[in-house]
Amino acid sequence: MSARDLVIQGIYLAASVLFILGLKSLSHPDKARVGMQQAAVGMALAIIGTLFHHEIIRFDLIAVALILGTVIGYPLGMFVPMTAMPQRIAISHMFGALAATLVGVAEFRLHGAAIPRSTMAALGFEVLFGGLTVTGSFMAFGKLQEIITGTPVTYRGQNAVNLTLFGVAILMFVYLVFSPGNPMVFYGMIGLALLLGVFMVLPIGGADMPVVVSLLNSYAGLASSATGFVIENNVLIICGALDGASGFLLSILMSKAMNRSFGNVLFGAFGAPAPALAAGGAAKDLTVSSVSAEDAAMRMAYAGEVIVVPGYGMAVAQAQHVVRELADLLEKRGVTVKYAIHPVAGRMPGHMNVLLAEANVPYDRLYDMEEINSEFPQADVALVIGANDVVNPAARSDPSSPIYGMPILDVDKAKGVIVLKRSMNPGFAGIENHLFYSPNTSMLFGDAKSSLTRLVSEVKAL
């Protein structure tokens, strides 16, 4: 190893340490910012170090690509609104996987039949998962951005088709490991992977996106780790492994929060018009009590404790700032206001936390499900804003319900519940929510933002 290579490797090692420390700093919001800034310094060092690599002889394309990437990346970092964060994250998985896949293709073109078996295995893995993530993430982006319908697209034999395609791709992969020199099979496999990414995300509904986005995060990481194996670069192996572990862990957490397995999310097409509407039949006989903004405001203003339960509806209506305004007014009157966050509320892990933080809600007011559930019985009012399935008591009580067993926020145990909802349409799984018919519950119909605005002016008028 030349002295120059030694220095470059030293820089990579330092960068790896800074990345791990950066992720570690995310265990506490007060330290996180500095930690991630140090990780950014590590990245800058790694990039500069790489520029001294002995193989690099021309800088024209590098310069243009770095500038182009910065010009595209800067607005994606600075101007994308927090409500668009899920699709923003989804599309960035696509860029990561694209980079990994292209490096894989280039390595294959260069070495072809001379590639050793073990390296070919890594390379195959890289382009298989990379390709799948490129189109899969683009589909997820499309669904979240609502370019493509958010409802699941299903047809007969869909799972059979997907499994067959996957099986064929695996066979090609095995074939390549034993005879690496076949470009037809190699590019065919990439084509299949790209197709699989589309087919895999097509049947998945909007509310299952937290799992899918996390899973694609994991795939993108594993693909870039495989790249590290192929080009024999440890920093890439390390970062890919970190990324993969993070995505994997998040997908497990999200699946658990929905009480479902990966397989069920990927192959279940949960959001399809469920045959499980049986439970809904009984609901027709029940009555819903609606409440005026004036009464609702009165009840909250004279409450001791109000727990706000935000859901995707808050994100859609971009109502987080009005929520904060209402909470401020209530607090001025001596009401304690807390926020209960379900792990899968919204469209990605942590979605609600980011939105509320954007609206300047201090983070020590945001409580996880486990922390807050025991507090609902003491709360005078639980204010549900555009959340549905995560507060459906059927998950606790009705074994025939499709969401039975899913951990929920025990909103129904509060002394009173006020639900802000656009209409009586059921949630994503088409499941009736008996919370809405409970004598304890009052419904305030209308768009979340305008309802909250009315509540704010009513509280002000008191």
């Binding site: 791990i20 570690k24 991630m36 690599h53 993108a220 970062c239 862990l249 942590g350």
Partner: protein, 111 residues
Amino acid sequence: MTPIGVVELYVFVLAAFVGYQVITRVPPLLHTPLMSATNAISGISLVGSLVLAGASRDTVSNWLGFIAVTAATINVVGGFLITDRMLKMFRREPKLPPGGEMEKKAGGGGR
């Protein structure tokens, strides 16, 4: 090309283990910044694509590298910026003077 060594597997397994341990400690509060942070870090694939774009192999390799560098740079620049933007928003409640705290508690008790 040389076959993959055992050392690389060691690195991978240990890094995945460290990642798992570190990331289990990230509270759900910061899961979105965690995702954007890992995204930004995954832009380290630049170490491969930069060489590809600048080496004297063939033109196609250079252009594949060009696209890869662009894509990875988008993640690095956008990823670190958006993570910072999000983390900047997470603030603790401003500390009240001792008297204010008492007042607030008393207010909370009275209906």
